[in-house]
Symmetry: D2
Subunit: 172 residues, 4 copies
């Protein structure tokens, strides 16, 4: 049983107006649903989503790559200062029960890949499509078209997964 | 100007009753002061401090070394799942404006060392003493004897420091 | 001017016989070319490539996710013990002047994504295809069909790039 | 049975002439002994030790905190580019079967602490002394006074330890 759902929102730091709007709507839906928004703490989709969450009374965590607290966008309640660069992408993914990708550049793709590897569910909104070397499109991304659908799917997947952290890392 | 003070409490995962009591008092003072408690999220000092903070209505962040959310002690509001082992000690230190060490084993010593290296202020309660190879005792740890003094000193140091994250990491 | 070229070979830990053969050939070409092979140090493509490199008198580095030296495959000269789980994928990528992806699962995809984000050249042998949310296939992967072509392309790209590490990480 | 001994040499990046000389001698002894020198790859003790190792025909690995290969000192054969800042201190320690501390600032202290926590043997040459909060001096550092003694002790400890990586990290 999950008491509080943590949803990681990932996406590019330079978002088009359309993607920015979508990210803000995703954040607002997360806030309304009483879930906690986790993101990378910087600009673009991260800022738009955090802004949306705060506008709906939600709570936001930003896992920053750098060492400066000031890099955090103004909608982050709890900045986590990692100083490990983009190795922090793994932490953004793991801290969520589920991931929502909105648009996205190569950093976002690394996060989608980490999530799929860890068997953390991924919901996709206008994001990457990936084709395995066998020629088959990877069907592990749950594509939806609206912010509302994204958050509904995310919460459902988080609850169904229960323990998304069960995939063992090779570091015993 | 710091809006909200983040205080990292570090210490051993197997605490004596005396150290445990001290950690809980530190957490309670942090909660009363309206600061956010950051810790490693596990047992011992981390759990005692988080328990104290929650008893005083505070907010707690636990930066976990492993990949399992369930490793989090029950007093953590926001578990950060890093999966990077004790490399996360650096993150615990950096996420605070200031660090309070309560007792402590070798892991705690690594955190004190990181904090001193980053010029993040350290308050010490029955913790390590360190002697430089020049033979001089390192005076950068601010030793106090009660939980109340520790949190008062921590908040004062955090505000005086302003931007403890100014020390540049060698990763430009 | 690059004195010694470091080539990171990435790919799945459970390789089909065909992919395994290709990886071994890639390793052998790297060894013959006098370049240093960098990989994740484990089984599958990592082991096959390291085996090929050693058979050709080359040098091999394995950047292990876990804490056990024994996880290293027997063809690794220099095991780097990270204990940071798959956050080490970033290190595998950065340690090479160039990356060759052979086959690959989600971990490999995270490495391709990191490389593209850092503008480290990527050569692909039967690996992922990725389609941006704009609908455009990402043309930053240099697809080839033989091991010989892969290593020739890799060395050429490494020398042309010169300083692939110029992309700044957000951690100043 | 250890085939090849990996010795991590740690110490400050701004070394006094006396410490620098000692570090270079340590490196030379490591080279003569046929062991592999691991270090942080930068200046000061790291550079002096690597220089010593190369002068004796040894092999050197530098685990760099930053993203720039050029930060590597000129005596490093195999630079590992981590881009995770001083979180890489853990990797420097883990990659060695044993650690030799020469002089040292706060970064070195964090490495000593990590090594002690992981039960990796530590040999100390004019380095930190640490006093536990119980008031007892920590006797886990093996202090010696010459470079020759340091490397002899290190190799003996490495072989006796056998598997220093047996201490489990909390990241299953």
């Amino acid at each position: 049983m999950i008491n509080k759902v943590f949803i990681s929102v990932i996406g590019e730091s330079h978002a088009s107006p359309e993607i920015a709007k979508l990210a803000e709507e995703v954040g607002a839906e997360i806030g309304k649903a009483g879930a906690v928004l986790v993101c990378g703490g910087l600009k673009g989709v991260m800022e738009n989503a955090a802004k949306g969450a705060k506008s709906a009374g939600g709570t936001t965590i930003g896992i920053l790559p750098g060492s400066k607290r000031e890099d955090s966008n103004p909608y982050i309640d709890y900045p986590i200062i990692t100083g490990i660069g983009y190795a922090r992408n793994k932490l953004v993914v793991k801290t969520g029960h589920v991931v929502i990708a909105v648009g996205g550049s190569h950093g976002t793709l690394s996060e989608i890949a980490f999530a799929l590897g860890y068997k953390i569910p991924v919901v996709g909104l206008r994001t990457w499509q990936i084709i395995h070397h066998s020629g088959i499109v990877d069907h592990n991304i749950n594509y939806v078209t609206t912010a509302k659908e994204a958050v509904e799917a995310a919460i459902k997947l988080a609850k169904a997964a229960g323990k998304p952290e069960e995939v063992k890392e090779y570091h015993s």
